[in-house]
Symmetry: C2
Subunit: 206 residues, 2 copies
Amino acid sequence: MGRTSDARDKILGAARALIELRGYSALGVAEICKAAGVPKGSFYYFFESKEALALAVIDEHWAGQERAWKEVLAGEAEPLQRLRRLFEVTQAAQLAGQRDCGTISGCMFGNLTLEMSNHTEAVRVRLQEIFDAQVGMIDAVVAEAFLRGDVTVADTWQAARSVVAQLEGQVLLAKLYNDTQVLGALWANCLALLGARAPGEVAAGL
Amino acid sequence: MGRTSDARDKILGAARALIELRGYSALGVAEICKAAGVPKGSFYYFFESKEALALAVIDEHWAGQERAWKEVLAGEAEPLQRLRRLFEVTQAAQLAGQRDCGTISGCMFGNLTLEMSNHTEAVRVRLQEIFDAQVGMIDAVVAEAFLRGDVTVADTWQAARSVVAQLEGQVLLAKLYNDTQVLGALWANCLALLGARAPGEVAAGL
């Protein structure tokens, strides 16, 4: 049983690494099993299909990211400072990935949205749920900031979605130019999108 | 000679449609030729490789989009109104695509950036040139707006890049939710990112 679950983890780990490197469509089950060091026959014992594996990789990745986002966004700091921390953590994670493999892999959810959402309905639905959750988590912090008078934007959900869009767009450019410096613009842009009161003061944590 | 160039156009057209639907990696040369209705043997007469075809598809798509952007951004209207028009044109194009094939295909350059930039250096370089050109075209309009006192942002190039990032991010979400309404946020967000003077007035064209 220990060995069995070990094989599943190996397949998941190999699939995740390969998907981050080369996307989903270009991969075959045989290649994933070879990279995982497990016999191809055992693949279908754990996963019904390559699509089921993709969903498991997505779920696992989101479980980790959701935990990290919750930790940052539910902290003690003032609401906008928590958002700032989220961007810093994102930039640090992309930089760590670049150090490990030479290139910025970007956001797995953004990558798979553009690659898969139009032809794999189950993946589209799962990714929608994840982006909804991201927007919801940011919305909660923006609403807090609004109640404190730190931001002027009234439709906090719409604003939170624009912050997520800005994050995805900047991560896309960071990947294209293989340069995490691009992500340095996220904080100032977030303040602008939220109509932050006197951005200079908020930025300084005053 | 007429028939020869016709075959090249057919291959290009089929490849473009298939790439928009399913991305690049999932496609094979045989499938592209079948969709184009040309014998597989003729493919390598026109294109050295599948990668060379991808570059030709990108170049052709950019030639059309660059023409459209120039037309909109070099118009007679006030600078920010031209940017607004660019977002309207983008939303209309995505809506037309959705009507044609049921789903929003998104931005071909964004799609290929996330799918290909990390493992096809020639494509990365070409896409960088295209995004540089897009930022440059928006930068020129923002600089005009700055000189008129319509926007407060001083680093117009950086602001233009953030506008492009917002565009890519919102198009990604529009594709994910298969809903062009998402793109309605672009104009207000652009004004926020540029630090537009009295957005209400600018929005009303005053």
